[in-house]
Symmetry: C2
Subunit: 414 residues, 2 copies
């Protein structure tokens, strides 16, 4: 019998009515002949409330106890979900991460899964039950509870789909799939029928918040078909799958916008081996997350080094580079805190030319100045002024026809 | 090093400030040289809130899932308690029932403890940590979470004190000890320095709500000194201990009042073997908790049978005996729902005479009619009219000098 894993986020199980609606989804899958495993997150804002409770007794709560505390949220969700299913006439049983031996390392608050014992899950599935598993949590070798960090319930779901060889892992959210870009900004954005793991990874790291990177990596590694869909409507969402040949015809699958960014530039850094490493090691020590890095040589002896950070990291970043400024021979520090990044992502870029050209032209026509440019194999990003960011996104979306379904776009030239 | 177990109820850990106050109690014990194990209940009204959440998704929630749900409340309390201790500079670690292998049978919502593995607790105590254990919960042989029923956290604490051979088990509550009677009704009630397990058991079953019977039974069986004391004040509370010779000098240790009771009388039941058993089996099937039973023969062939129940059980009790009425040959059913029971309890009754006499005289002087009387080895109970109940309690308390400390009362005659 084919297995399906369904994951419901916190908003999808926030109250009794929503739990019943989610339960109906599980029942529909049972009726279609699937064995069903449900993964649920903590209800509504509960995790945030528990974090607030913790901070009230300890401004710097020990991580082991934090995991012991936060894991209760998911445990409550799945037990209530199982009760709802039973009230609706379907046998169901809930498990904590510990009860199904979801073994992780001991890095509390961001543990990594090492193995899962499927014995209990399979036994109960074969008895005709719907099996519920608390998301986000595991246990280490000492039976201490661990949690998997942000997006942890997605990771639980994809991991279970992998070990159970599920036909599909459905991620139910409050959006109905992955869009070509943020529809709150570009109203004509369209939903993608499918997207490759690599594209989704780039989009996730560029702030498209549907799923967390780690679960997508997991899906890619273990060949799990991930279906992102709405918990409110029945219609199909977006499938995240391995790259298939037809994807190459589409040069750009999506575009992203990251606001609240800042760029720091170190002018006149001594151009000698080890200086860049020194600077970024120092930033890492200050726990600053650096996005893009651009270095340009200005002479044999001097270079300018720029990097971007989220504005919430601006203050510690400034402090860190001020500390190391003299050591690397930097003359001056420039700070721009009014920038944004526009990116386009697509596996088609690997085999097609003219993509960067098209993007720059679109921005030029819209009279938007490009501050700097970075690229990866399947991504091009431009830094622009914050105030022009939305206009820039729109121009780029129209240029790449992101208001049309993939099969209706002008065929790209190879 | 001597071990002390401290148990804090829900009101004692209801918010951050109260958790810190409770934590200070643990720290004080550490400073006195004890190794400290803390057992905590769920915060404030949390258990009731979770029960309400469950009933919203399922009016008849499956018990296994109920345990899975409710056990999270205690888990949250102990992790927050551990965080508070660490913020106050003391190393602490929290455990669920499962993590210390608090093994129970599989009777969900009222499981019984079978064994506890003290290895982990002792290891961490010996490393200088304060150990916290979630009350009320255990696991069965399948790793399914169980709960111990009403007063379960007391049972957890006393059980841990037993297996750890603790010097004392402190039960912190919002009252400062066990009183001769309910001070809200008899203002001059005094706190008892000590009381025997047997007396405390009688008082608990008569509605003195300080501790639940099962934990007292456990303490008696495993010789655990139980100290009931206030979480708000430093002063000594009441020690629950084995009977010592000096207790015999005190005829009556305490008096109780149970309001909200009803008496049902079956008139003219056929006086033949098996009829009483038939009636009470039928009541048990209807889940009616019967308090006292009084049977009187009215002829060779007929008897009258009375029993008392809490008023919340009156409707199902009436229904049950109406069903069985004809089968046992009963002519008529009488119901009194305006009664109360006044009881006196004391191990001294075993060796002293004149106790019943004194009680009946006190009630007679106060012009209170006694409806019926039942006794056990260390208890005498009288059913009176509800409206006279408080006056009756006061008369009895004054007769037995329950407004005076035990050592100051008139010496009883053997």
């Amino acid at each position: 019998m084919a297995i399906i894993v369904q994951k419901f986020g916190g908003t999808s199980v926030a109250d009794a009515q929503k739990i019943r609606r989610a339960a109906q989804r599980a029942i529909n899958a049972v009726k279609k002949g699937f064995q069903v495993v449900i993964v649920a997150s903590a209800r509504g804002q509960q995790t945030d409330e528990l974090i607030a409770d913790a901070l009230e007794v300890n401004p710097n709560p020990p991580k082991r106890e934090m995991d012991q505390l936060l894991s209760t949220g998911e445990q409550q969700s799945v037990s209530l979900f199982a009760m709802a299913l039973q009230a609706m006439g379907y046998d169901a049983i809930s498990f904590t991460g510990g009860q199904i031996r979801m073994l992780t390392d001991s890095v509390h608050t961001k543990a990594r899964i090492k193995s899962v014992d499927t014995t209990r899950i399979k036994k109960h599935l074969d008895e005709g039950k719907i099996v519920l598993v608390a998301g986000f949590q595991g246990i280490d070798e000492n039976d201490d509870i661990t949690t998997l960090g942000r997006g942890g319930s997605d990771t639980t779901a994809v991991a279970l789909a992998a070990v159970l060889k599920a036909q599909e892992c459905e991620i139910y959210t409050d959006v109905d799939g992955v869009y070509t870009t943020d529809p709150r900004i570009f109203k004509k954005a369209v939903k993608l029928k499918q997207i490759s793991y690599d594209e989704m990874l780039e989009m996730a790291s560029l702030g498209a918040g549907v799923m967390h990177s780690r679960s997508i990596e997991f899906g890619k590694k273990f060949n799990v078909k991930i279906h992102v869909r709405s918990s409110l409507e029945e219609k199909e969402g977006t499938m995240i799958i391995h790259e298939v040949p037809e994807m190459e015809g589409v040069v750009v699958s999506g575009a992203t916008i990251q606001k609240d960014m800042a760029k720091l530039t170190l002018i006149g850094v001594d151009n000698k081996p080890g200086n860049a490493a020194r600077i970024f090691a120092h930033l890492a020590k200050a726990k600053v997350v650096v996005n893009d890095i651009i270095q340009t040589e200005v002479s044999d002896k001097k270079a300018n080094l720029s990097f971007t950070v989220g504005t919430n990291d601006l203050a510690p970043a400034k402090e860190a580079i001020t500390e190391i400024k003299d050591e690397v021979g930097c003359d001056k520090i420039l700070v721009h805190d009014d920038i944004a990044e526009i990116s386009v992502v697509g596996v088609g870029m690997r085999t097609h030319y003219g993509v960067a050209d098209k993007m720059f032209n679109a921005l030029a026509k819209a009279k938007i100045n490009i501050d700097s440019i970075t690229t990866s194999e399947i991504r091009i990003s431009c830094i622009v002024k914050q105030e022009q960011a939305e206009k820039a996104l729109e121009a780029v979306c129209l240029a790449f026809e992101l208001d049309k379904a993939a099969e209706k776009r002008t065929k790209a030239k190879k």
